[in-house]
Amino acid sequence: MRHIFLFLAMTLMVSLAYSQQGKIRGTVIEDESGFEVIGANILVQETGTGNITDIDGKFTIDVDPGVYTLQVSYIGFQTLTIEGVEVKSDEVNVLGEIRLSEEGLELEEVVVKATAIRTTEAALMTIKKKSPQMLDGISSSLMKLTGDGTAVEAAKRVTGVSIEGGKYVYVRGLGDRYSKTTLNRVDIPGLDPDRNTIQMDIFPTALVSNIVVSKNFTAEMPADFTGGLLNIETKDFPDDKILSVSASLGYNPQMNLNSEFLSYTGGGTDFLGFDDGTRDLPAGARSDVVPTPISVITGDFTDQDVADFVGSFNPDFAAEQQTSFLDFSLSVSYGDQINLTKEDSNEDKGTLGYIFSASYKNDYTYYDDAFFGEYQRLSANEELDLRYANTKQGSIGENNILIGLLGGLAYKKGNSKYRLTVMRFQNGEKRAGQFDIDNNGDAVGQSGFIAVSENLEYNQRSLTNVLLNGTHKFGGDKSWELDWRLSPTLSTVDDPDIRRAAFSIGQTGSIFINAGEGGNPARLWRSLSELNAVSKVDLTKNYRFAGEAAKLKFGGSYTFKERDYEILLYDFQFFGGSQIFPDADPNLILQPERIYPTGNIYVQSGNIFPNPNEYNSTATTTAFYVSNEADLLPRLKTIIGVRAEQFVQKHTGRDVIAAQGGDGNELNDEEVLNALDFFPSANLIYSLADDMNLRAAYSRTIARPSFKELSFAQIIDPLSNRIFNGGLFSYPDWDGNLVETRIDNFDLRWELFQQGGQLFSVSGFYKRFDNPIELVRIPTQQTGNEFQPRNVGDGQVFGVEFEIRKNLAFISPAMDKLSFNTNVTFVESRIDMTDTEFNARKNFERRGETIESTREMAGQAPYVINAGLTYNDTEQGWAAGLFYNVKGETLTVIGSGLYPDVFSEPFHSLNFSVNKRLGAEKKTTIDLKVSNILNDRREAFFQSFNAQNEIFNSVNPGVNFSLGLSHQF
C-alpha cells in the first residue's frame, strides 16, 4: 500500500510541475486468462515516473509531450517493455489491452511497439479462448467496421446467430422460446407480448460496447435459455476523453424519395418516436355502455352523445401518399474521466468517469408489391395443388424513428468501483398499407368476396433501464471479488389507435361495407407494460489448486417481473343497412353527414369490463448457485456448478364467460406455476496445446411457459385475426396442464487459436427437450385461426458448427490485410407429433404421401451461414468488408390437416461496407455501405406434398445504400 501512495505522490508531483501535459492510459491483463492485473507497475523509463493499475487493471500516467518507453511489470509475470508511446499536449494516448505472460523458466523481457498493442477482435478472442463457457461475440470495433447501425444488424455476424423479422435474435436456429437476452447481465423485459427475447433493433450500436452470445449454461447464468444467452454490454468508463459525432444518410431507390410512399397524418411528436396524445383513447370509450343508438333507446345517452362519441374518433382511415425522405441518423457521444484526488493531497479520492451518448435514427421502408396469402388443401386426396382461401396484395409504407439515450457515471476508488447507468430507448413506427383482397368462397370457411382495405398503425415502444453496480475486491491478495447489481427496467409497448377499413366491391360494382366480408371499420388500442426488477450478488474467490489459479463462485439473485396487457376494440356499425359509397375512399366513412343521427354510422364497443383481453401476471425467480473452476488435472480445466431456481408465476385474468358474469374461468392473482429446479452444469476444457482446446459440456436448462400461456386468456390478435387460447383451458385431447420444458444440453468443441485473432473451431451439440411447448392449431376450429400452447411430444436437436477466422497472408504475404471469416451451423431437429396433429395430418394425407409421426421443430433453421471477407489497412486507414448471411428454409407456421405448413425461404443477404479514416490523426471516418446487394425477396411459402408452393408472405426489401461520416474531436 505504501508503495502505491509513493507512486501516486510521485505522479502528482510530476503533474503539478507541468501544465501542458498529456496522458497515457491502458489496461493490463493476464494474457492467458484475460483477467485484469491489479497493482501492476507501470514505469516511464525516460522520466522515472509511473503508476500502478487499479481495480480494473487500468492506469493513467501524466507526462509531458514526447515519445516514451513504458515498462510494465508484475510479480510472476514477464516484464513487458512498450516502445514508441507518443504523448501529445492535452491528449490521451490509449494503449488498450497490455498482455502480460506468466514467467517462464528463463527471465526474459518482451519488447513491443506501441502500435502493436491496439487490438480489435483480439480482445474478444481472448475472452473466448479462456472463457469457461463456449461463447461468441462481436465488439464495438467490428461494429464500426461493418457499419451496422443497430444491435440486430451487428448480432447476426455472431456464430450461429440468425435474425427473425429483422428484430429478434435466434441462436443456433432455435426459436425465440429458447433464446434469452440480457442487458449488462440483468434480465430485461421484451417489447412484444408474444416473444421471449427483446427486439434488438432498438439498441443503437453507438451505445453498445459488445454483444456476447453464450451457447452453454454455467451456474451463474439464468437457467431459462437453451439456444443462447445474448448479453448486450453498454459503454462504460471511457479511457479517453471522447467527443465523437457521426451522421449518415441512406438511400433505397424503392423506398426513399418515393412520391408513392404511404403514411398518414399522426401527432406532432411522431418524429421523436412517441405519440403526443393524438391517438389517445377517446373519453368515455372505457365505459361499460358507450353512446350508441341502442343506448339512446335504453335512455342512457342522447343522439348528440352518439354523434359526439363518433366525432371523438379521428376521422382519417385512409393511407396518404407522401414523399419519403432519405434515411438518416445522427449520434453523439461524450465522456471523460476525472481524477478527484487533489493535486496537493496524498489522499486518494478516486476517479470519476462519465459518459453520455445520444443517437437518432429515421428510416423509411416501402414495399410496393407486398403479398400475403392463405391457402388450403382440397378435401380430395388426389388433388395435390393448393386452393387459395384469401389473398391480399398491395403496398406498405413504414417510418421508423429510434432514439437512444445513455448516461453513465462510474466511480473508482481503491478496490471498489461503482457504476450507475441510465438508459432510455424510444421507438415509434408508423405504418400505412393499402391492399386488394380476393377471398375465395369455394374455400372452407370462406364467404367469397372482393374487397379493398386500408390499415393505419402506430407502434411505440420504450425501455428505461437503470443499473447500479458495485465491484469490490477484498481479502488477502484481493482474492475475493464481490459484484452486486440492482437494475429496474420499465418497458412499454403501445399500439394506439390502429385503424382498419375495408370496402366490399359487389358483383354489380357497388361499393359498400360488409361486416361478413372485409369487416366493419375498426379501431384498436393495445398496450403492454412490463416492469423487471433484478438484484443479484456474485462472489468470487480466487485461489490456487494444485499450483494453478482456481476460482470458487457463488451468489444469488432475485428477479421480479410484472406485466400488464390490454386490448380494446371498437367497431363502426350501421344502424340500418350499410351505406353505399361513391368510391372506395375510407375517409368518406366518418364524413359528418354519414354519422348518426344524420346518417347511421355509430361506434360499438367490443369490450367487456372486466376485460377478457386483458391480464396481469407476475413472476419471481429466486436463485442461488455455486460453481467451482479449477484445473483438476494438468491441462484440464473444469467448471462444475449447480444452480437452484425457485420460480413462482401468478396470473390475473379471465375468459369471456367469466367476464360476462357467468360460470367461466377466472384467476385472481393465483399461482399458476411454483417450482424449484436444480440446474447442474459441467464444463471441461482440455488444453491440447497452448493454442488448442478441446471442450465438453453438459447442462440442464429450462423453458418456462410465458405469462399469457399459463392463463385462461382468450386473446384476439387484431393484426393476424388469430385467437390465442391460454394453455390452462382443457380440451378433449388436452388436459389444460401446461408444464415447463426441461432441456438436457450436450456440447463438444475443438478450437485452435492463432496469432492476431485467427481462429478455427468445430463444435457438435445435442439437445433433448422434455415436454416442449408449441403453439398448436385447434383442429375443431374450421377457420383455422385458433391456437393454444401445449406440451407436444419430446424433441431432439443435433447440430454441428464450424468457425474459421483466417488471415489470408498464408496464401501470399501480399494478402496480409485480407481476412476471411465464416461460421456455419447445421442442425437437425425432430419432434414427436401429438396424436391430434398426426391425425389431422393423416386426414389430409395426399395420394402417394406418407405422413411420419415426427417432424422438424417449428422455428428451427436447418442451417445458418455467416461469411465475411474483410480488408484492414490500419496505416492507410482503409477498412472494407463483404458479408453474407443466410438461414435455411424454416418451418414457421405448423400446418394442420386443411392448412399446409408454412416455411420461410432462405434470404440471401449480401452486404458490403468500406470505410476510410482521413487526416494525419485519422480522426475523421467516411463509410459507405450497400446492403442486400443480391436484391433478394423475403418470402415464406405454403408447402404441401407434390404441390406448387404458394406464397404466405412476400416483400421486396430492395438494395440499400448508405453513406456515413464521423469525427472524433
Partner: protein, 503 residues
C-alpha cells in the same frame, strides 16, 4: 339403543307399580320444530313454491300440523305427523303484493302438546324483465309475458332443456367482438320454444321496444327499429349431434367441429356427430330480429344457426329479419325446416354447408346484401343432398337490392330445387344508365338439379341471368307464378309489414 330399552323396561315397571298408586301420568317430549333460518326471497305471484319444516314428535306419540301464512297462499294447510322426525313440505303460492311474508306451522301431538315455527320471506316485485347471466345447466322455463335479457353468450348445456313459452320476448344486450350476446343450445341440450301464430316468441335486441303485451295484442312488428337494422346482438345458435361433412380422409371422419363465432375453449360450441335422429327440441313460431353481431374481422353470427341438427328436432314457422350475417345457415345435419321467412339478410339469406341432408319447404326470401342462396357442397367425404322447395324470392324490394348472386353454388353443391319463384325485378339501372342484371353463378351446377324454377323475366332475357353466359339449365323457365304458400306466414313481421304482398 340398549339404554333406551332399559329405560323402557324401567318405564313398564313404573307403570305396573304406579297404576294402583295413582301417580301423575308419565311425561312425553313436546314436539319440536326446525323452521328454515334466515329470510328467503320470493318473487311476487310465484306459484308452486315449497318450504320444508322438520318436526319431531315423541317416539310414542303421533300428531298433526296446521299451517297459516301471511302474504302467501298455502296449498297444504294441514296434515298428520308420525312418531319421531317428520319432514313437512309446505306448498304455497307467493302473494302478489311485495313486502314481508311468513308461514307458521303449528304441530300438536296426541298428548295435546304443541309447538310452532315460522319461516320468514320477503316478497319482491315481479319484474317484467329478467336478465340472464351464466349458462343454463338445469331445466329452465322462460314464461309468457316476460322479457328475458341475454347478458352475454348464454349456453344451454348438455342435458338441460330450456322451455320458452309462447309470447315470450328474448332480448340480447348490445355488444360486438367478445362482448356479443347470443343464445346457444349446445349438443345434448334442448330448446322447446313453441310459440303460436297469435303468440310468437320474439328474439331481438335490447334496443327493441317490443313488449310481451304488444305481442299479446297481435302486433309483432318492432315498434322503433326498422327491418334493416342489423348487428345489434348475436343470434340463436342450435347445435346437435347429426352427421356433418367437415373434413376428409381415407379413414376417420372429423365428426365434430366448432361453430363459427364461439372460441374453441368453450366446448358448448361443438357440433356434429353420428346421430342423424338427434333431437334438439321443438322450435316453432319464432321471429329473430336485428342480430348478427360482428365478432371479429369477417366473422358474425347468423340469425338462426343450425349446426349438425338431427331429424328428431322439429323446426317450423321461423322468421329472421335484419340479420347482419346470414338469415338461416345449416352446417350439415338432417333437420328439415318448414314455413320460413328471411327478410333483409345482411349477408346471404339461405346458406348451406357441410352436406345438409334436410328439406326447406315453403319459404319466402326478401332481399339480401350477399346472395339469396349461398349453397356449398361437402367439405369431407360424407356427402348428402338437400332439398329446397316451394319458395318465393324477392331480390329487389323496398329500396334494397341484393348485392351478391341470386344463387351461388359450388361444384359439390348437392341440392334439388323445385317450385321456386324469383319475383321481379331482376335487373336495375345503374348511375351510368346501364341495365345491370342480378345473376346466377352458372358454372358450378355439377350436382344441382332444377324443377319448375321460375324467373319473372322475359323468356328472351333468361340468358342474361347466367353470370358466365352459360346455357339456361333444364327446369329453369320464365314465369310469373308464385310458389310459396304465404297464407301460413301471415303471423310474421314481414307479412304484417306488407313484405309478402304479391308473392
Amino acid at each position: 339403543m340398549n339404554l333406551r330399552f332399559l329405560l323402557l323396561l324401567l318405564g313398564f315397571g313404573f307403570m305396573f307399580t304406579a297404576c294402583d298408586d295413582d301417580e301423575p301420568a308419565p311425561s312425553f317430549n313436546a314436539p319440536t320444530i326446525d323452521a328454515p333460518a334466515g329470510i328467503s326471497t320470493l318473487v311476487a305471484g310465484a306459484a308452486s313454491q315449497a318450504v320444508n319444516f322438520t318436526v319431531t314428535i315423541d317416539s310414542e306419540l303421533t300428531g298433526s300440523y296446521a299451517v297459516t301464512g301471511t302474504g302467501v297462499t298455502i296449498t297444504t294447510a294441514s296434515g298428520d305427523l308420525a312418531a319421531g322426525s317428520n319432514t313437512v313440505t309446505v306448498n304455497f303460492d307467493a302473494g302478489s303484493t311485495p313486502g314481508a311474508a311468513s308461514i307458521t306451522l303449528t304441530a300438536t301431538d296426541s298428548e295435546g302438546q304443541s309447538a310452532s315455527g315460522t319461516a320468514v320471506f320477503t316478497v319482491e316485485e315481479n319484474p317484467s324483465s329478467i336478465r340472464v347471466v351464466g349458462n343454463i345447466t338445469a331445466d329452465a322455463t322462460w314464461v309468457t309475458g316476460k322479457t328475458y335479457i341475454l347478458g352475454g353468450r348464454i349456453s344451454v348445456e348438455d342435458g338441460a332443456t330450456l322451455t320458452i313459452e309462447a309470447g315470450t320476448v328474448v332480448k340480447g344486450e348490445a355488444g360486438t367482438g367478445v362482448n356479443a350476446t347470443a343464445l346457444v343450445i349446445a349438443r345434448g341440450a334442448k330448446l322447446n320454444a313453441e310459440g303460436t301464430a297469435s303468440l310468437p316468441i320474439i328474439f331481438t335486441s335490447i334496443a327493441d321496444e317490443i313488449t310481451p303485451d304488444q305481442v299479446a295484442s297481435g302486433d309483432f312488428a318492432s315498434p322503433n327499429l326498422g327491418a334493416d337494422v342489423t348487428g345489434l346482438w348475436g343470434g340463436l345458435i342450435v347445435l346437435g349431434r347429426a352427421r356433418i361433412s367437415a373434413s376428409t380422409d381415407a379413414g376417420e371422419q372429423l365428426s365434430e367441429v366448432q361453430i363459427e363465432g364461439i372460441p374453441t375453449s368453450d366446448t358448448n360450441g361443438l357440433y356434429g356427430g353420428s346421430d342423424d335422429a338427434d333431437n334438439s327440441g321443438t322450435i316453432s313460431y319464432i321471429s329473430i330480429r336485428h342480430g348478427g353481431s360482428n365478432i371479429g374481422e369477417g366473422n358474425e353470427i347468423n340469425g338462426l344457426t343450425l349446426g349438425g341438427i338431427g331429424s328428431g328436432t322439429s323446426i317450423s314457422n321461423v322468421e329472421v329479419v335484419g340479420n347482419q350475417d346470414d338469415g338461416i345457415e345449416w352446417f350439415g345435419g338432417t333437420v328439415s325446416v318448414t314455413n320460413a321467412v328471411v327478410w333483409n339478410a345482411g349477408d346471404d339469406a339461405i346458406d348451406t354447408d357441410q352436406a345438409w341432408a334436410g328439406t326447406l319447404d315453403n319459404f319466402v326470401v326478401v332481399t339480401a346484401n350477399g346472395s339469396l342462396f349461398e349453397l356449398d357442397g361437402p367439405e369431407g367425404d360424407y356427402t348428402a343432398r338437400h332439398t329446397i322447395k316451394n319458395g318465393s324470392v324477392r331480390a329487389i324490394f323496398g329500396g334494397r337490392t341484393t348485392g351478391g348472386s341470386l344463387l351461388d353454388t359450388d361444384n359439390g353443391t348437392s341440392v334439388d330445387f323445385s317450385n321456386i319463384f324469383f319475383a321481379g325485378p331482376l335487373s336495375f339501372t345503374d348511375e351510368d344508365d346501364n341495365t345491370v342484371y342480378l345473376t346466377i353463378t352458372d358454372d358450378e351446377f355439377a350436382a344441382t338439379t332444377f324443377e319448375n324454377v321460375i324467373f319473372n323475366i322475359d323468356a328472351a332475357e333468361l340468358g342474361n341471368l347466367m353470370e358466365q353466359g352459360g346455357a339456361v339449365p333444364a327446369g329453369v323457365s320464365a314465369g310469373t307464378t308464385s310458389q310459396a304458400d304465404i297464407s301460413v306466414l301471415g303471423w310474421t313481421w314481414a307479412a304484417q309489414a306488407g313484405g309478402l304482398e304479391g308473392l
